[in-house]
């Protein structure tokens, strides 16, 4: 099961075709990027998660970058890890910059050489002063913080009478009824939530005691209506009153709260992680890609993004451009950050297959 770095024996191009043909349209490539996109050195192809997130990125990053540097940004979406692997394996790399989690990066690096290390000489060191060390990785720079938090319907649990910690969230006597938690498969922080519920302090979470985490999950399991995996699902379940309690992404909760749905979240005992800008091995415009990554780290650019969507800047200097009432809604605002656990993605990159295998067996028991 554990990935190794043995030389490849099977053409990945074959596999991409195979996946598309046999697993159906659900897994087929969803976008088509013309090869001509690379014809010119003065453009880069950026791949991100699509939807309202990418719309915000277009305003805060892509357009101003084009204006300032004259390098055109061709944007495309869904940086599936399988697609990334297939591209690099087949030598047909269509993306120059990709946004993804660092765990994905290290998971792939364990199987081969899929990412180009960043050239930190091309970035003004002063510009990264406000960036936490964990966000300045060999292979990428953190672009946004997102968090998963205890979320609740305020018409059932008015603010103040809601679960204020993971042990309370686990307490089915005090807070009865169905809940939804994240399925472990997508690298969501469910084991960490289990340990927090069991009283483990932040600094003792990693390396994760897997047995203890599952023992804790055993206690909440009967009340879990659904182990969600697309991030839209817990939001929909709260909005439709399918559940009154959920672990959900803070950004999405803030959005529907502003739209008038009676929900809110608790920052305490949340888990915070980040998305990175990375450069795939085999990019045809490394220089342009580096310029773009550096541009996106600028405090003013990161502040602009937070005006459009509820994600936290990775550059703390951005907060000087963000009004206090907006900052209060963002996971990386200092007062929120300190209440949450920062995910150790390198632990996950190593243990994910083993944890998922166990989770799959556990869920059926």
């Amino acid at each position: 099961m554990t990935p190794t770095a043995t030389p490849r024996t099977v053409s990945r191009r074959d596999f991409l075709k195979a996946t598309a043909a046999s697993l159906g349209s659900a897994l087929a490539p969803r976008v088509f990027v013309p090869h001509l996109a690379h014809a010119a050195r003065h453009q880069i192809v950026v791949c991100s998660w699509g939807g309202s997130y990418q719309d915000s990125q277009r305003e805060a990053f892509f357009k101003p970058f084009e204006k300032e540097t004259g390098i055109r940004v061709v944007d495309t979406s869904q940086p599936d890890v399988a697609k990334m692997k297939a591209m690099v394996d087949s030598g047909n790399v269509e993306w120059d910059v990709v946004t993804t989690g660092l765990a994905t990066v290290y998971q792939l690096q364990a199987q081969g050489d899929y990412f180009h290390p960043l050239d930190y000489n091309m970035i003004d060191p002063k510009a990264l002063n406000g960036v936490h060390a964990s966000q300045r990785d060999r292979y990428g720079l953190g672009t946004i913080y997102y968090s998963m938090n205890i979320s609740f319907r305020t018409d059932v649990y008015p603010k103040g009478k809601h679960p204020r910690s993971m042990p309370e969230f686990w307490d089915v006597k005090k807070f009865p009824g169905g809940r939804t938690l994240a399925n472990v498969s997508g690298l969501f922080m469910t084991l960490e939530h289990g340990l927090l519920a069991d009283g483990v302090p932040f600094d003792k979470i990693y390396p994760i005691d897997i047995d203890r985490a599952f023992a804790s999950l055993d206690r909440v399991k009967p009340q879990v209506v659904k182990w969600w995996s697309p991030g839209a699902l817990p939001i929909q379940m709260l909005a439709d009153k399918e559940v009154n309690l959920a672990i959900a992404y803070s950004g999405r909760i803030q959005k529907i709260r502003e739209e008038g749905v009676s929900v809110d979240l608790e920052w305490n005992h949340g888990t915070i992680s980040s998305d990175f800008w990375v450069i795939p091995r085999g990019t045809k415009n490394f220089e342009g890609a580096m310029k773009f990554v550096a541009f996106c780290m600028r405090p003013d650019r990161q502040a602009h993004l937070t005006r459009l969507i509820h994600y936290g800047p990775t550059n703390q200097d951005a907060f000087q451009f963000i009004p206090a009432e907006r900052a209060a809604l963002l996971p990386s605002a200092p007062q929120n950050f300190e209440k949450m656990l920062l995910a150790d993605v390198k632990w996950w990159a190593q243990h994910r297959p083993e944890v998922i295998k166990r989770f799959d067996a556990w869920i059926l028991k």
Partner: protein, 304 residues
């Protein structure tokens, strides 16, 4: 040269080709081969080649190994999930046949114009994406959904029933998506049943029920078998609907394959799971053909 003579010239030029085709055409086997050649090429490139690649990956990723298959066979989780997958597919097939047979019967027996309307009603859902239809069911089946609201208003239940995020939701959603696959083959077989046979049965003294049971039903069995095969095989590979409407334990094999391929980039193991599912699916098809298929044919031939 005038245009006419140029055209005439090209016709003359084409003669050797026509003659060659006729020569080929005389040899029956070769002509048939030429006729199926395009399809054969398409299948080879788009179907056989990728399947071979998957088979190779399952045995060769990252080095020649049987451990992926050993893992599938020895880890009880995967056998358990295979069991759930086949059980779900079987139940969905039964539901589709039970709901689809009467509908197909009505479609095949009502006057032409009404039948046309019914066919359109059956086909329309095909044009809507499975994801959209699944979300529509979430709106219908939720605690505050249409069904529960109605039941609460009518006083049938006192608190909302749990109709989704469990096996009920999976069955409802999958049956709805797959119903047209059951109705259409049954309808086309029923439509072609010779009505004179029914009249003959009635002339010989059979009442309507007897003529249905002893003439129409056996003749329609072929459609039932192909409908069952289509629905069952499609259901085995279902992904979106059970993932969204199912509960914690409704894990189908396709979900595990997707996770291995897309999340864990463990293509060797993902491929092994896919090959096992494919192999078992083929086995099911063979069984369908062997037993039910010949039985249905037999009853047609013997006119039982």
């Amino acid at each position: 040269m005038t245009a006419i003579s140029r055209v005439a010239g090209s016709i003359v030029d084409a003669r050797p080709w026509i003659r060659a085709w006729e020569a080929v055409a005389e040899r029956d086997g070769l002509r048939r081969l030429l006729l199926v050649l395009p399809t054969l090429v398409v299948l080879l490139v788009l179907f056989v080649a990728p399947l071979t690649a998957i088979l190779r990956l399952s045995l060769l990723d990252p080095a020649p190994t049987a451990r992926h298959y050993l893992e599938v066979v020895t880890n009880p989780t995967y056998l358990h999930v295979l069991g759930i997958t086949f059980e779900t597919a079987a139940l969905v097939t039964l539901l589709c046949l039970a709901l689809g047979y009467p509908l197909a019967y009505v479609m095949a027996t009502v006057p032409g114009r009404l039948a046309g309307v019914l066919i359109i009603l059956v086909i329309v859902p095909f044009w809507i994406s499975v994801l959209v239809r699944t979300y529509a069911w979430m709106v219908m089946l939720g605690r505050g959904g249409l069904v529960n609201t109605l039941l609460l208003r009518l006083g049938v239940v006192e608190e909302p029933l749990r109709l989704m995020h469990n096996f009920v939701g999976v069955l409802v959603g999958m049956t709805h998506v797959l119903l047209p696959f059951a109705v259409l083959p049954m309808y086309s077989v029923m439509k072609n049943i010779d009505r004179d046979l029914l009249r003959a049965a009635e002339n010989l003294g059979a009442n309507r029920w007897q003529s249905f049971r002893r003439v129409f039903f056996p003749l329609s069995l072929l459609g039932v078998v192909s409908a069952a095969a289509l629905v069952f095989v499609s259901a085995l590979g279902f992904f979106i609907t059970p993932a969204l409407l199912g509960g914690p334990r409704d894990v189908l094999l396709s979900m595990l394959i997707e996770r291995q391929v897309n999340d864990l980039t463990n293509w060797g193991f993902g491929s092994a799971l896919a090959v096992v599912l494919l192999g078992l699916t083929l086995l099911v098809l063979i069984v369908f053909r062997r037993f039910l298929g010949t039985a249905a044919w037999g009853s047609v031939v013997e006119g039982r």
